[in-house]
Symmetry: C2
């Protein structure tokens, strides 16, 4: 089946093509930035985005949304991780966490799919870990330099891409979505 994946990111496109290609689906890029709503959960953002895109294209479409949720900050920056990265960045998060011993955090991704009849399915992928007290590593992007996944010592920014992809919330969400959809 032909499916559109809304993204401006070529790396993500390749990752998704590999996962869904293995099941016989053909994934093509769609560039059409949908409005993201303000909401408490990634799922709400993804469902609203898929509704908007489906009303416009009436085609099977995949999208995703991710964020980092820090336990001791009531989930902040969560759904607004991209905005907070643009304004406060990693240094702002480190400052906010000064003197706080509880460092648990999780990267979450919600992947969503709308089929040719408008039916929506979402799946989640989570990577548990902790916020360290300084920035380490130069790979990755966003909050990668301050996040160490559970049972690891290196940050996402210190890992090679292959290792990060096996652990990552996004890979998990997309693999779970692909399993739910099944083979062509």
């Amino acid at each position: 089946m032909k499916i559109l994946f809304e993204t401006g990111n070529q790396g993500k496109l390749k990752e998704v093509q590999a996962i869904f290609g293995a099941l016989g689906h053909e994934v093509e890029q769609l560039k059409d930035e949908y409005p993201e709503i303000q909401a408490d959960t990634l799922e709400e953002v993804v469902v609203a985005g898929l509704e908007w895109l489906w009303n416009k294209h009436k085609m099977p479409i995949i999208i995703d949304d991710s964020g980092i949720f820090i336990h001791s900050l009531k989930g902040f920056p969560g759904v607004y991780s991209a905005y907070v990265f643009k304004t406060l960045g990693c240094p702002g998060i480190l400052k906010q966490m000064e003197g706080i011993d509880e460092r648990k955090a999780e990267f979450k991704c919600c992947a969503g799919y709308v089929d040719s009849e408008g039916k929506i399915t979402t799946t989640s992928g989570v990577c548990q870990g902790r916020i360290i007290s300084e920035m380490r590593g130069s790979g990755g992007f966003g909050y990668d330099p301050i996040f160490v996944p559970e049972s690891h010592e290196e940050t996402f920014a210190q890992m090679d891409l292959e290792e990060k992809n096996t652990l990552s919330h996004r890979g998990r969400a997309f693999r779970s979505l692909a399993e739910t959809m099944g083979k062509e």
Copy 2:
């Protein structure tokens, strides 16, 4: 003219009824929470909200959205002020501002109106001021205890409601909107 004002807040409803009532307009409450989009500006949030409400009700409707924009934090928390208040609160903002001398901030409100034909008008109100280094006062809500308006010494939370209303970004935005619309 009869206009609907979307709000769950009785205090805001009375304020808006007073301002528009003086021009002969009858303002009634509408309770229908519209989706707020993620955007860089309050104007974008208000315009998208009015489009959504107008498509549904096809009636003249007023809405507003507010936020506090801190200069040295690239405008943070801005459009996401409500979410940041729920998670970090005033103590989190004070922590983020520790050691920063540049304390300028502004409360902004965007008020918007869609007329019976779907035409949208927006106006803005701004209250310049600064973030102080501790919480003061028990009135108001949100960031009021840490914000001192320009040419004043008291925080919004230390002022009586009448004084705050004459200075406030929301009053300014609504009065400007009422002027733009003119008399009945």
